[in-house]
Amino acid sequence: MSTYLIRNAQLLGGPAQDILIDGGVIRQIGAGLTAEAEVEIDATGLIALPGLVDLHTHLREPGREDAETVLTGTQAAAKGGYTAVHAMANTFPVADTAGVVEQVWRLGKESGYCDVQPVGAVTVGLEGKKLAELGAMHESAAGVRVFSDDGKCVDDAVIMRRALEYVKAFDGVVAQHAQEPRLTEGAQMNEGRVSGELGLGGWPAVAEEAIIARDVLLAAHVGSRLHVCHVSTAGSVEIIRWAKAKGWDVTAEVTPHHLLLTDELVRSYDPVYKVNPPLRTAEDVHALRKALADGTIDAVATDHAPHPAEDKDCEWAVAAMGMVGLETALSVVQQAMVDTGLLNWEGVADRMSHRPARIGRLVGHGRPVSVGEPANLVLFDPAYRGTVNPDSFATRSRNTPYRGLDLPGRVHATFLRGVATVLAGELVAPEELA
């Protein structure tokens, strides 16, 4: 394991300092450190952030290795500044048993680019009918604490209530994909002015909000912890704000794309903009930014959803839903939140590292950049300006809505427990991850 001396990095809320990483931990922080190190990095102008934590990643393995593998997905995560990702359960087979979550967990260990914390399915086969063996998944080597049928909503109120209650036994949390299924049959995009003109099936905001309203009430009733995935509407924000004001244990995430893009883009009928939940209106984007800034929304989560080219290179109606996001998340957040003055970099660290790690109950992640802490950190260059080029991505898929867009900022280096996974903006070779 190498020692790294990072020179002149901008620490949150303080002056530029040197950081010495040795033995997987941050050994020293100070001005003009004289320690010997194998690698010295000039970090002038770079911000040192805690390694990012994603609550919502689709790694696709097992089953859809044509879209992504644990290796390529964690490489993309490292390039985006992440040191831990939560791998969603909608794989083939579904991660609804101890065996599958352990497989994903082990693949993550073998990758070495980013910690992989598997998410367990709430119900068998994501079918919403019968609870999966939540306890077994928790007790497995994967130590699952976050459970989600993401991609599908746990729409049966009784099943949702039982899941919320059951996972209390091991401090688990149910992460709900809030989508009332009957109201979204055949839905293709946000229901509003644009869907009416385009003749695409509408996905009303109320389909999301009605489930969130029900779930916060259920969580309050049984005294459980609820996490709301990818909040996308202004109305959802109001419900979550109300639930938090009541003192209920409710957390929520927003995706980078819902902070930046609107349903006006669907006018192109380009399926790269097709995503679940759908892109909403400018008013919704405004409300989501505000909620992330004031903490009503706790975390940014990518909902990184890789798809092979053929699933997007087609007509809108048959295209797959989802966007890749790991490698652009921090830049999008800079553009939407930091450069607009809504959130400072301390806030970014809080919403993209501290709070998501706390929600997932991860140990060793989301910690401050200070002496004695595990060296999970990212050096980010906020002054960089570049054009998004999907061909440079580490993810196996190319379904990004930001192709050709100018976005600010770039990850310069990422460290996972003192091991560099990214240096000078490039992935470190697998054989050097030691």
Partner: protein, 325 residues
């Protein structure tokens, strides 16, 4: 000059009038013994129909043949499409075969826009109806029919004419194309439907909305009845066929309350007994059959202008899908 006709919003007022006027000239052909023109000789037009269609496909085919084009009918059923071939590969295949124009009918809204914006094929794309989005040649033939009855003459538009469109606006590509084109031509459009069959956001469309057919009859120069599929009532859009007919159907009593000069239109296929009674459908004031004949002239004009060298006025697109690119 524009290469494609994907949306009625692609057409400026000048474009639209040029098509209507050209169609008037071409319509005179149908009175002749020999109905063929050599205009598109040697050009290949593919009718790419992913959805069952009898009248639109036949109409295009007649138009293409009268212009002497080489016509290829590519029905999705029974072709490689039914074996899972993608729209992209189908388009690449047609491109390789040298299609100069592709007339596409597709069940997915936006499929013609995808074809037109992609580099999959280089010929003209003509939208023959996409999902619940648009059907621009239908709107053109409707406008042609209206102009003949309400403001005949080359170069005339539909300024101030009051057009009432009744029925399932939510699922209607005819309604969407009509409202766009009729606005361009200066007409005033009123949609009449139960609230369940109007799209969210219709308040931003260039039209009036009413839930009351009887209240709008007297203020109507042309009344267009849209087909209402019986299966809609299974999804609770309205309670029963009888109730729909009573509240929104066109019958003899309502026909009598239209102004004397007003016409009743229907894009077909009609569901007799549902949105229109036989008495109205077969009355001389119903233009449904005339619309079919006009459809051939309009489609000839569109093909002639897109492919035949004469140019549509080269105006910037008002199509929002273009603007969003």
């Amino acid at each position: 000059m524009k290469r494609h006709l994907v949306s009625a919003a692609d057409l400026s007022r000048d474009d639209a009038l040029l098509i209507l006027d050209t169609a008037e000239e071409l319509a005179q052909l149908s009175g002749r013994a020999v109905k063929k023109l050599p205009t598109l000789r040697g050009r290949t037009v593919v009718n790419l129909f992913f959805e069952d269609s009898t009248r639109t496909k036949t109409s295009f085919e007649v138009a293409e043949k009268r212009l002497s084009a080489d016509v290829i009918n590519f029905a999705a059923k029974g072709s490689s499409v039914s074996k899972g071939e993608s729209l992209k590969d189908t388009a690449l295949t047609l491109q390789a075969m040298g299609a100069d124009a592709v007339v596409i009918r597709h069940h997915a809204s936006g499929a013609p826009a995808r074809l037109a914006q992609s580099d999959w094929l280089h010929g003209s794309v003509i939208n023959a109806g996409d999902g619940t989005h648009e059907h621009p040649t239908q709107a053109l033939l409707d406008a042609f029919t209206m102009r003949r009855h309400l403001n005949p003459g080359l170069g005339n538009d539909l300024s101030g004419r009051r057009i009432t469109i009744v029925g399932d606006v939510l699922h209607s590509r005819v309604a969407r194309s009509n409202v766009l084109l009729l606005k361009t031509l200066g007409a005033q459009v009123t949609f009449v439907a139960p609230p369940t069959l109007l799209p969210i956001g219709i308040d931003s469309w260039p039209c009036e909305v009413s839930y009351d057919l009887d209240a709008t009859l007297a203020k109507t120069d042309a009344l267009m009845m849209l087909r209402v599929q019986r299966e809609r009532m299974n999804a609770a859009f309205f309670p029963t066929e009888r109730e729909y007919s009573r509240r929104y159907g066109m019958h003899g009593g309502r026909l009598a309350r239209l102004p004397q000069h007003a016409i009743v239109m229907h894009p077909g296929p009609m569901v007799r007994g549902m949105e229109i009674t036989a008495e109205v459908a077969d009355s001389p004031r119903c233009t449904a059959v005339e619309q079919v004949a006009n459809g051939v002239s309009i489609r000839m004009a569109v093909l002639y202008l897109l492919l035949g060298g004469a140019t549509l006025a080269d105006t910037p697109s008002t199509n929002q899908s273009e603007a969003a690119k």
